[in-house]
Symmetry: C2
Subunit: 337 residues, 2 copies
Amino acid sequence: MGTEKQRPVTLRTLADQLGLHVSTVSRVLHAKPDEGARAASGATVERIRKLADELGYRPNPHATSLRTRRSNLVGVLVPRLSDIVLATIYEGIEEAAAEHGLSTFVTNTRDVPEVQRARTEMVLGRRVDGLIFGDAYADGEFLASVAARGVPFVLVSRRSGEYPSVTCDDYEGGRLAAEHLLSLGHSRVAVIAGEPYASTGIDRTAGFVDAFAAAGCPVPESRIVHTPFDARGGRLGAERLLAERPSAIFAVNDFAAIGAIGAARDAGLRVGEDIGIVGFNDTPLAAELPVPLTTVRSPMHEMGYRGLSLLVRLMAGETVEPERLTPKLMVRASTTG
Amino acid sequence: MGTEKQRPVTLRTLADQLGLHVSTVSRVLHAKPDEGARAASGATVERIRKLADELGYRPNPHATSLRTRRSNLVGVLVPRLSDIVLATIYEGIEEAAAEHGLSTFVTNTRDVPEVQRARTEMVLGRRVDGLIFGDAYADGEFLASVAARGVPFVLVSRRSGEYPSVTCDDYEGGRLAAEHLLSLGHSRVAVIAGEPYASTGIDRTAGFVDAFAAAGCPVPESRIVHTPFDARGGRLGAERLLAERPSAIFAVNDFAAIGAIGAARDAGLRVGEDIGIVGFNDTPLAAELPVPLTTVRSPMHEMGYRGLSLLVRLMAGETVEPERLTPKLMVRASTTG
DNA sequence: CTGAAAGCGCTTACAG
DNA sequence: CTGAAAGCGCTTACAG
């Protein structure tokens, strides 16, 4: 129980104590529980496992990686972990990674292209076996350069071109929001559409606008604004939109919706009565707000979990298909009063 | 521009192309810009650096770690990254880590002791050089077992015993909240105190309660409730507290405060007029809420940044002192109407 | 069933 | 100023 950092136990430690060769020990410790017989005699297998257990042997991953050219490391790039949507997606990634014996490096890129580049280089320098991007730009330029290097990667949250991705069916989600508002009789609506380079905002807006157009109530450009995906962005966006006197606002993100609620209130409007507001994602806060928020639930945790699983298959050489997860409308007081 | 994963450039690649020995190349590439002369002749240094640049040489960190017994890796354990407070602290950690050439593994432990143990073993198995705990239990039992292994670590957000930590001066923060409410004439107040094992909640509550006691308005146990640090917890806590008819509620966390606002509203109270509510942290949402939230700002990003810096000093063998960062009261409509 | 060898890519103390 | 050697801890194809 000293505070000293004792030399860790290695294969050599075990081999010496047992009078065996390290290669034998390695083979045994590597074998799946059932195929132990392949590696050594039953008795030897037992002795090795027992001592490894007693001494708390843990293979040195640097040595393993050096030798096998596999790091079991995955790099995860997100705009910002302080966005609960991305943080929740990451929780899913982490859970799946742990199940596969992988570890992750996560890093914030703030949607700044130079930072995305620099952080990608950094994790690549750490010799990750694969990458997950939660910060893809719809244009896909940067991703093309990554693909050219032959590193496997998948996108989560946002899609881009034909690259493997796990996203919410955002178009459908936008449509759900629209159908809901249409059913309540709204015809003059507005959209807080998020950042123009993110497929999430693009697709949600498209689904919403298309549904309104199909219902004979086209949404003009003047009632669509682009802002950051946070409360402040939502407030600023709503302040501009309110001049258009919409009867309802669709924000492509719950936090933007919360900002919009504040702006509406400041303008003297009662949310859910004078104006309807719909968000997106169904973050835990949505249901607990003073005026609970109608929103489209996206399976954030699952998105991360499946994203990592997809990456594992990709790293194993499989061909994979993009996945679109199903959104679900959650009706609450912000549209029904 | 093929999609092939070409063999990466190693020291050997460089050495062979230049007709030098790998040890020479290694020495040169290692030297600080100014001490290059120590490593080889000026001309050789130039040739090596030039080729390394052209070929995009990146040292293999696994080989380096194996050889030097230093991984330049840090493990970070937090209750949950989907809590914006911890996510923001992590952003600070990441920023500082990048400056020091360190990479981090972050992992969610959900404040579950077995998970804390398991994840700690995991990152230790990855041979991190140090640890940062954002999920310390006040009792410090588990930390003692980590300390016994001789791995350097620091705590952020929460403190425990005398272990090195970077926290907000939470006691002072609680006091600030109390002074504010006292100055507004409140005498019958209540506290949503968070989880009982977290020093943040404990200290904030203590500072608050002590200030009220000193002012002659003791806060009885019946007006202090423990709940999770989220909106749902805050709502449930407030629902119980409202039976006590407090004129103001102090929630030790902004999200709990938001839940409390919802509960107050459901009870027919106007926040800022019929009841005052104070939060803690000043998360970005606080100022954007329909009723902007009075709260105590804690320097979250800085806490992470300084926490990592403290760890670096600890890993270098220095003795370090705990740091308490200064909180700041942000007065808004939730207490002033 | 077990051993011996080679090698992953790097660093470092030593020699010349 | 540069080279050669040893070794970090592991895996794997091969030999016996």
